[in-house]
Symmetry: none
Subunit: 282 residues, 2 copies
């Protein structure tokens, strides 16, 4: 996996100084060859140990190891595109819109893949498979994702409930018991009401899965398992699209993982019923 992508993916979750290091590396990846950890530290006016800790935090043995890895990434050409360099001709933009937008989505997907290890995904899939009931909650766009996910689960024969409002959810949750799972969708993970809800749910012995952006946020801390999304674009109207796409892909993976033997049959039966409902002729 490209170390540059990894840096990009983790960037959100970094402290100010770490982010400066990350940015420097992303921008000057090809110059890094001539930088020792000390020189890099001097260039950024920070301490050398910060550079080393940065490297280790990303999972490398140390600074030289990270440097080596970046060297590989650059050589491989999987360099992070400097910017989506605002193309001059509007016509060009239009023609390739589908393609460039999809590329952005692909990048977001890859970043997201890097920060959720496969083990966690299957753990969550197992957790949901064995759950008594699954509660999904989220507001705004997150609410729609929650609802869609709940519908998917329902097709698999899992009892899944969804709310886009904290008040009825509070009531519903008061009946939760051991074995139930709460899936909380919150891009920023800052919503006080949701944290409250989690505490309440935890008291009733339920398991909590959080789905948030890859920043440090209170919601993650409360959760038994976390799903993380990374999606970036300087254009404020595009970023939400990328977030939604990466999030959806994550959920889709969970869904696929849950589709085994019995549940798959259940799904097929349900799909057939739905088909009939929509078009009695068939």
């Amino acid at each position: 996996m490209s170390s540059l992508l990894k840096i990009r993916a983790e960037r959100d979750q970094m402290s100010a100084i770490e982010r400066r290091i990350a940015d420097f590396m992303l921008e000057n990846a090809h110059l890094l060859r001539d930088y020792s950890s000390q020189q890099l530290a001097d260039a950024l006016q920070i301490s050398q140990s910060s550079v080393v800790k940065f490297s280790q935090k990303l999972g490398f043995k140390g600074y030289p190891d990270l440097k080596y890895s970046i060297g590989e990434a650059v050589a491989r050409g999987s360099d992070v595109p400097v910017k989506t360099a605002a193309k001059s001709a509007r016509a060009t933009v239009r023609e390739s819109l589908a393609e460039t937008l999809w590329q952005s989505k692909s990048r977001a997907e890859e970043e997201t893949r890097l920060i959720n290890d496969a083990g966690t995904l299957s753990e969550i899939a197992t957790l949901l498979s064995r759950a008594g009931r699954v509660f999904c909650i989220g507001f705004g766009d997150d609410g729609l994702a929650a609802q869609a996910f709940a519908q998917r689960l329902a097709l698999l024969g899992t009892l899944a409930l969804h709310h886009a409002d904290a008040v009825p959810m509070t009531a519903t949750i008061s009946s939760a018991e051991r074995g139930d799972v709460l899936v909380v969708f919150s891009e920023q993970g800052q919503h006080a009401a949701l944290n409250q809800l989690c505490r309440q749910f935890r008291e009733r012995q339920g398991k909590i899965v959080s789905v948030t952006r890859h920043t440090s946020n209170p919601l993650r801390a409360h959760a038994d398992a976390t799903l993380l999304v990374s999606a970036h674009d300087e254009r404020s109207h595009v970023q939400p699209l990328l977030y939604q796409s990466a999030l959806q892909h994550l959920l889709d993976q969970i869904f696929v993982l849950m589709c085994d033997g019995d549940r798959l049959e259940q799904l097929n039966t349900n799909l057939e019923h739905v088909q009939h409902l929509l078009d009695p002729k068939l």
Copy 2:
């Protein structure tokens, strides 16, 4: 020039020990990452200084520099192909789920791109931009897509209404007038109630946009403009995911096309408000 090539070229005029170093590096280029000059020397039963001198003789600043360069060469692929049999089968399957699923989505996206020309997309974007009110309707998964789209439009300052039920929609539509647009989401396009609705809407001089799978279906026939989705997978539980993804991408394109000047400002204002709502602290 690739450092590996250089080593091979110089090999013939090297001393015995240098040649052993050269051979070791050529054979184990991909393992060199984990060797310090001392370890390499130990492995070859030679002195560490010989390794350093070897590096310098070849024109590198020192051993790390040579190592870095070899890393690049390997990454660039100018090396003997590495065997990738390391991972266990199960782990590989798991890890690649994300990737293969995404590839499937990419395929669906591409198919979909091919059957909707850019012109149609911008026409629809224009239509929606100029619309008085936009009505979105769909059932099941389509309903969620409709809702999400309506929410997006609302953020752009367009008056957008959404229903997942034909009955209230009928009522709402009865107030439709020229300049309004109805966006009908229906994967199969077979739903009688929706056709009914379209007829009613057309009588009131509204424009109709259909969003369906790329089959011949009655809904397409009723529409002024059509969006088509292509998504195929033999696994019944995967196909809906692909459909959803491709559909979403189409809608995202429309959305991006609609984001210009005024509306973009409106969007940013709205996003800010939403941000405040979710996290008053910011």
